[in-house]
Amino acid sequence: MPADHPPPPVLRLKGITKRFGPLLANDGISLELDRGEVLALLGENGAGKSTLVAILFGHYVADAGSVEVDGRTLPPGQPRAALDAGVGMVHQHFTLADNLSVLDNVMLGTESLWWPFSRRDAGRRRLLELGMRFGLAVDPLARVASLSVGERQRVEILKALYRGARVLILDEPTAVLTPQESDTLFATLRQMVAAGLAIIFISHKLDEVLRVSHRIAVLRGGRLVAVLPTAGADKPLLAEAMVGRSVEMPRRAAAPARQGAPACELRAATVLSREHGRGRPLLDAVDLQVQAGEIVAVAGVSGNGQAVLADLLCGQVALDGGSLRVADRPLPARPRAFVHAGVARIPEDRHAVGVVGDLALWENAVLERYHRPAYARFGVMKRRQAMAAAQALVERFDVRGTEAAGVHTVTRRLSGGNMQKLILGRALMAGREFGATPPLIVANQPTWGLDVGAVAYVHQQLLDAAAGGSGVLLISEDLEEVFALADRIAVMHRGRLGEPRPARAWTLASIGLAMAGGGQRQAAATAVARS
């Protein structure tokens, strides 16, 4: 009787090692992926997930190790070879041409340029057939620009399937989706594995991983620390494997709502788009009050006006209508006016907006205040005082990675978490300079891309600031964060802000509905019924 040969795994990674200077991004990682399986790749930012996938897809060349698809070794460093072997990738940030149709996007690059005619009819039939088979219904002739984010993601998946992908890599696919859209995606993934595809699902959200995967591989510090079947895993176990220790996440204790002067008050605040003259409203008659000592969260799917709201409250854009008062005073739309009013501002993109990466840490620490008498006289900077202030910030906010160069460390070299501590420290200390506590803290996605330890730190700082009497406006797409911190939650959809309601009044389902625009239609309907 011949030996029973199991079919080779569809994908096999053997001893993948990759080094960037002193950093070991991947350390001898070996993994196998079988047909009909969803393997979750779990790990914090910087654990090596992206590097591993980049090697798998041929964007990077590994220092050691190999990638096999169906038992055949892929030539390293050739994305084309990975594509031809049936490896498809759906990036977190979509790679679609907005002005082309779905069909054009899907067919782009699949046809020979030597053949004068495009076989669009055949392409369309194939696309429709794939859509039927996997429940990915999209109109092939619709322009991508007119699609929702969830639909665009379907197009990305169809693109990979159209090219004959049998191994599909999804990089943080739910980051841009509402909870309901995520459910739809998970249903699709189940259909695809039932049809024999294999899927690698990259995420750092434990709930999702537990729901969608068959097996879970946990990366930490570039090493594969655990591979376990999902059936036997739970959240605390995974969190500890991911972080290497157990982490206590701070939560908002029920706080008495203080009825003092509002830290910030928006009335019918309207900001119009500057494109094509003055067009549609980006912020549409937004009413919002943040009381002192209160944390108000604004949730919503990315791109529904939260960024404009944050810009407005950081002095970056001016109102086209309505009013804005901070600590009972109107403010001109200049960042410096907001700094002087003591507003602590934490921008969404710390690398591009939060710090000047090429300057030293101490220079970034005084970036908002370098012209104040404390740090400059007659246009000459008091470098020693500025450096001392930066040193105090480093110690008070526990900024790491400054052992070698101290406050002269080039800011770009700091990790995301330490960079965020620097920004947080700068914002809070600037606020203190103008009063005992910053009256208002505007935190836009303050923990985006941070590891668990840094997230806990940032959350604790925001909670402490609120306990100290600051009003906190938290803008976040991370619902777990919203529920952990907020006293009141409002949902933003298409530039309109729903009514803030106490956190207890929301459920995951109701918030998801509101994020998709459902809640507001309901509210509008009730309003109509009432009148």
Partner: protein, 356 residues
């Protein structure tokens, strides 16, 4: 092959980079020297000797370096703030013209103001002319988003035609026997010789002082802090409350003033009058010098002396063995490319596809 970013810039590469850049430059240039039929080793020796090998060579090199330091500083400070001023050539000519307009022998005698008044007025006029010439492009950039590379570059041609018109018209020297050149500066306004029997003039210490002042400005003042922050990340600077548009305007005024001063000092230190060939591209060489110096004001001095030495050395090389003087341009251009590539390698490494 592909480039990968190094996680931390390699220190070994940072030390090796300039050496490799010079070696690469010499190799490329020697191919051309050999092509011109000259012995390579001897040619390099002549180049070095011609640029730095004698009292005459050194004084000539320093004379050439004087305007180059100033245009190099003009480019360096503007580039620091990401204001790509390609118009130093035009600003230099307009500065020279303004200097002669204030201090020239109009009507045979010129203005009868005392020297202590007229000399600063001459320099101020030159600085102002250069500054105002760059103000337009800077405002158009900060207000309307017009690309300053295009506007400053094209202004060069407009200014040169304007200078040509003036030299053939209102400012023409009637005693020049029909040559298009301006009237001369008043004798007391012309700069003193620094070394006897040479052309080095007191503009050299002035240029060195300018480099020192600019270095201090960038390092120690709030203005310098703003310039560096806006140049490195304008969005973050604006978020923190810096007046980005105003910083751009300040930098433009400073950069244009430095280039305008280069024109005044070149006129007052050399010929004493303006001609259309008074600058063999000092404004453009300033860009190369600023890049070679990594936009550091003190580095600009070293880079300017290096470039001036090559230019002077190439003249003597061409006299001795008949290699065209264009070899100097090739060497300077190759050096720039080599330095840029070498700097790239301190931040990136090469990966050969398929290699382990």
């Amino acid at each position: 092959m592909r480039l990968e970013r190094r996680d931390t810039p390699s220190r070994r590469a940072a030390l090796l980079a300039p050496v490799a850049a010079i070696a690469g430059t010499l190799v490329v240039a020697s191919l051309l020297v050999a092509w011109a039929g000259a012995p390579v080793a001897q040619a390099y020796w002549l180049l070095l000797e011609g640029g730095f090998g004698s009292r005459f060579a050194i004084t000539e090199t320093l004379t050439r370096a004087t305007p180059l330091i100033l245009t190099g500083l003009a480019a360096a400070v503007a580039f620091r703030a990401r204001l790509y001023n390609i118009g130093a050539e035009g600003q230099l000519y307009l500065g020279a013209l303004a200097a002669v307009a204030v201090g020239g022998l109009h009507g045979g005698s010129g203005w009868a103001a005392p020297v202590w008044l007229l000399f600063p007025a001459m320099l101020a006029a030159a600085a102002l002319a250069g500054a105002l010439l760059l103000l337009g492009p800077a405002l158009m950039k900060s207000r309307l988003g017009v690309d300053e590379v295009v506007t400053t570059l094209l202004l060069n041609f407009i200014v040169l035609l304007f200078v040509g018109a003036m030299l053939d018209g209102p400012m023409k020297d009637p005693a020049a026997m029909g040559w298009p050149q301006s009237v001369a500066l008043q004798e007391p306004l012309q700069l003193d010789r620094l070394v006897e029997r040479s052309r080095v003039h007191s503009g050299l210490p002035a240029a060195l002082l300018a480099a020192l002042l600019l270095w201090a400005l960038l390092k120690f003042t709030t203005h310098g802090f703003e310039i560096r922050a806006v140049g490195a990340n304008a969005r973050a600077a604006a978020f923190a409350g810096m007046p980005v548009g105003w910083v751009t305007v300040k930098v433009a005024l400073l950069s244009g003033a430095l280039a305008g001063l280069a024109g005044a000092i070149e006129v007052a230190g050399r010929a004493g009058y303006v001609t259309l060939d008074m600058s063999p591209g000092y404004g453009y060489s300033g860009i190369v010098i600023a890049m070679l110096a990594a936009l550091h004001p003190l580095g600009v001095v070293a880079a300017a002396v290096f470039v001036a030495g090559i230019l002077v050395g190439a003249d003597s090389l061409s006299r001795a063995v008949g290699v065209p003087t264009y070899i100097a341009d090739v060497i300077v251009a190759t050096a720039l490319i080599a330095v840029l590539v070498a700097t790239l390698f301190t931040q990136y490494r090469v990966r050969w596809a398929g290699s382990r």
